[in-house]
Symmetry: C2
Subunit: 563 residues, 2 copies
Amino acid sequence: MTAPARPAGTVDVKHMKWWGWGVEGVGFRHEDKPAFAPFVEKAIGLDLRQAASTARPDFADLKVPDSRAPEKFVDALGEIVGDGNVVVDDMARVVHTYGKSLRDLVRVRAGEIARTPDVVVYPADEAEVRAVVDTAVDLDAVIIPFGGGSNIAGSLEPHADEDRVVVSLDLGRLRRVLDIDTDSGTARIQAGALGPDLEAQLNEAGWTLGHFPDSFTHSTLGGWVATRSSGMQSDKYGDIADIVRGLRVVRPGGVLVIRPVPSASTGPSVREMVVGSEGRLGVITEVTAQVHRLPEKRDIYAYFFKNLDHGLAAMREIAESDAAPSVTRISDANETGFSLATGKEAKGIAKAAQAGLMAFLKKRGWNLDEMCLSFIGFEGGAAHAKRQKAIVDRIVRRHHGLGVGKGPGALYDQKKFDTPYIRDFLLDRGAAGDVSETAAPWSKLRQVHAEAYRAAHDAFGRIGRRGWIMSHLSHSYHSGACLYFTFAFVFGDDPLGEYDTVKRAVQQAFIDAGGTLSHHHGVGLEHARWLEQDISPQGVTVLSGLLAAADPGGNFNPRKIVV
Amino acid sequence: MTAPARPAGTVDVKHMKWWGWGVEGVGFRHEDKPAFAPFVEKAIGLDLRQAASTARPDFADLKVPDSRAPEKFVDALGEIVGDGNVVVDDMARVVHTYGKSLRDLVRVRAGEIARTPDVVVYPADEAEVRAVVDTAVDLDAVIIPFGGGSNIAGSLEPHADEDRVVVSLDLGRLRRVLDIDTDSGTARIQAGALGPDLEAQLNEAGWTLGHFPDSFTHSTLGGWVATRSSGMQSDKYGDIADIVRGLRVVRPGGVLVIRPVPSASTGPSVREMVVGSEGRLGVITEVTAQVHRLPEKRDIYAYFFKNLDHGLAAMREIAESDAAPSVTRISDANETGFSLATGKEAKGIAKAAQAGLMAFLKKRGWNLDEMCLSFIGFEGGAAHAKRQKAIVDRIVRRHHGLGVGKGPGALYDQKKFDTPYIRDFLLDRGAAGDVSETAAPWSKLRQVHAEAYRAAHDAFGRIGRRGWIMSHLSHSYHSGACLYFTFAFVFGDDPLGEYDTVKRAVQQAFIDAGGTLSHHHGVGLEHARWLEQDISPQGVTVLSGLLAAADPGGNFNPRKIVV
């Protein structure tokens, strides 16, 4: 009954490597960062000089379940998209099974693959997506839309007990900027465009989307919309929910079309139902998004604060002020230590300057272990950027902060998409490094921070591991901000059990202290358990009702977000 | 079976007069505006010197249907809220039957009252709202939440064929600002607070919501949320959808609670489902809204543009620039003529200055019949406001506009809530004056404007009346703006038939030219016929599914927005 494997070679869509983040041949290395190994040893007791990197996992070792796609079905899909764009081989199905969460990588490296999609299909355009959707729904198959595969909330995997045929609908061939409305500052862009692809097309015409999440290099516009993504310059450009105006979503029997109006009073917002829908309302094929002319000026400045309290107070005051920075970010003391430890060795004048700065701060009475590094970005016309910086500088001074220029910011800007490689580097050496993020009102951020730390350390105690946690504030709003936590520890005997203990403790602390379950990573399977505590049982009732009514057959990425 | 009328006097909630806008004793007068009567005569052929004002309608002439509320039910409600806060008398039921649309006023003045609510209940707090809701749902009654009663989209009226008992749940007693979180810039406010009430409470503590819709004096926070309202300073403060962060919504069996986080990735946004829900998802009892410290500076400047093309181009460029004004508004030539005609007679120096200005513009080659008046507001610190104005002034100059100072803006600011009284003034004299508004991308505004004009004039021709239409742009966004149209004509034999012909023609023109059915008035019954054309049939399917699933018994304001 099941189809023979088809050659994958003809599909012109690149994927990340199956066992980790990014493409082969790119990885984090610490040899040129002399402070890194001592830092890691102190933080989690991992001696990088001793720790052997695990061998690169061998795909041949995996036991990949057979495809359950009937040959007739695969043939029907091939009729639609062309035979070369329907793939059932093991590699393609494994690549489309998981996202890139720590849990995903631990499982795929361990060969834990209970269920893969049965077939991966690469339509060329919306018409083909429609035909694929109709064909799949006719068969009562499950459709899981796939963008860049960077998801870390468990939004992509088929359920182990899914008896129906599972189709991974890869949008990778829908990657063109179709049109720029230069009067309206909007662009029609196909949903499968990866960050670098769409920025290149926009930049060429003098425009930018301004959306740069950490996953930028390997995530797509459609994926950003489906998970409520937020980029590092959200202070200026908004979250993806603000950026997306028009939408096209393929559903059984037709296309849901939201026209790109700037604002509308048309009842409960269907646009805001599609945003964050993680595939459950259909397949997003096209987005009309706000775009901006490339700014004349775009600088990120670094500041040091004496401690987190001073820094948070400054960020809050900046958000309340007349200033409009593009980036506001401050690392807590732990993350500041980490950042300084991941720098390349300073030499000559740079080394002397760094030493001089630290000596100066010490002399001012700073405890360098409490010091916090902040990045604040300014974009726009030169005069505008200068004025915003002047307002910010005044606020920083009031909170005893110290500006240290553009050097560290430029470095941060270059390196900002590399963090996931460090996670894989640790994983190669038997250690967990993972993230949890939330948003909360300004008045609750300090408590969210303290409670997340306490919860993580309690959890480290319970699993008997030496653990590390660090955090930064990013994405400021009028009424609050995002707090982003990274935690790490060396695995014991039960990697995923230990991971769950820590991750769940941190997430629960967010909710208990007044934060949300996620600011920009989505719900998927990973965060669904906190949804009722976050948006209330009645909120879940309303949301479940929407999803059940919109997809009565449960064909679209079923049981994600809410069961 | 039906209950005896109860005395209404004990209820401490003020309502607008039953036959028109606002409170008794306030109205528009033209005697001190010498240019007004000639303007009206030219525009719609109504001679105000001749036109007799209709007599004030007499409530005694109305044939009000009896209340169908069973006495036991009224008693049960009385147990919850206290007897004085349950009202079944004719006046209260008529006041709660309609909003204040032209259609509503024509009908109520003509005694066309097919169905009223059967009982009006005024709970004191959320606990009482919950008990009322549970009691009403137990009886399978219909619940229609009522705020200020200013709605003009037909969101309030019971259906003529509604066989169930209809409860008007008036939130008027829930009007307190409960708490201001000064760190987060948010305030917990009860949903029934009228604009002036909540601003007074906030102002006293040094804060403002910054939300000033035209209906401000007679509309409530809960009503704004339920209809996706937008205020005149939305450029700075955002639409109500941006302003509201947290929500409490009473539903059968529990309260839907959205926590006031600045942004969240929790799937399709339930917050954005409640916003615009017009009572269909439950009863909004409390809102946590963004509030801002009262600005140091708050000025509105007036500018003249040679014609609408120049003016619109300037507004677009301002939206794209680094400037952040609080108000951007430009009237087209017709509305500019109207504005100048509603001014009090200038005397002495003011008269000479006005005449001098017009002579100057003529000499510069302006055709005064094409001239457009614009208001642009600046708020914030003094230095900030000054800088924003400098950026705007440069743009205005590039588009040959002329600044004329703060005088007209201050006048506009004082008079901005009085427009509905002019509508009633015309209605008293047998003429229709009504509004339709939309939003569209910048690139489509000129076409929306032209098509709406063409459609209105076609419609005036079809009904055989001399008609008038005028428009302004307000509420600028990155990608577009709102266009707000006012039209007028003297009624012939079939007032509502004629009104429908014009109103529907204008609305259809919006949709056909790429605008939305409403930027900030809501859907109700009035705009529901365009919903499928606006958000697509699939969008309506998704929306209908949400509402049906959330309220399977159809107890909450049924058949509004979508059937």
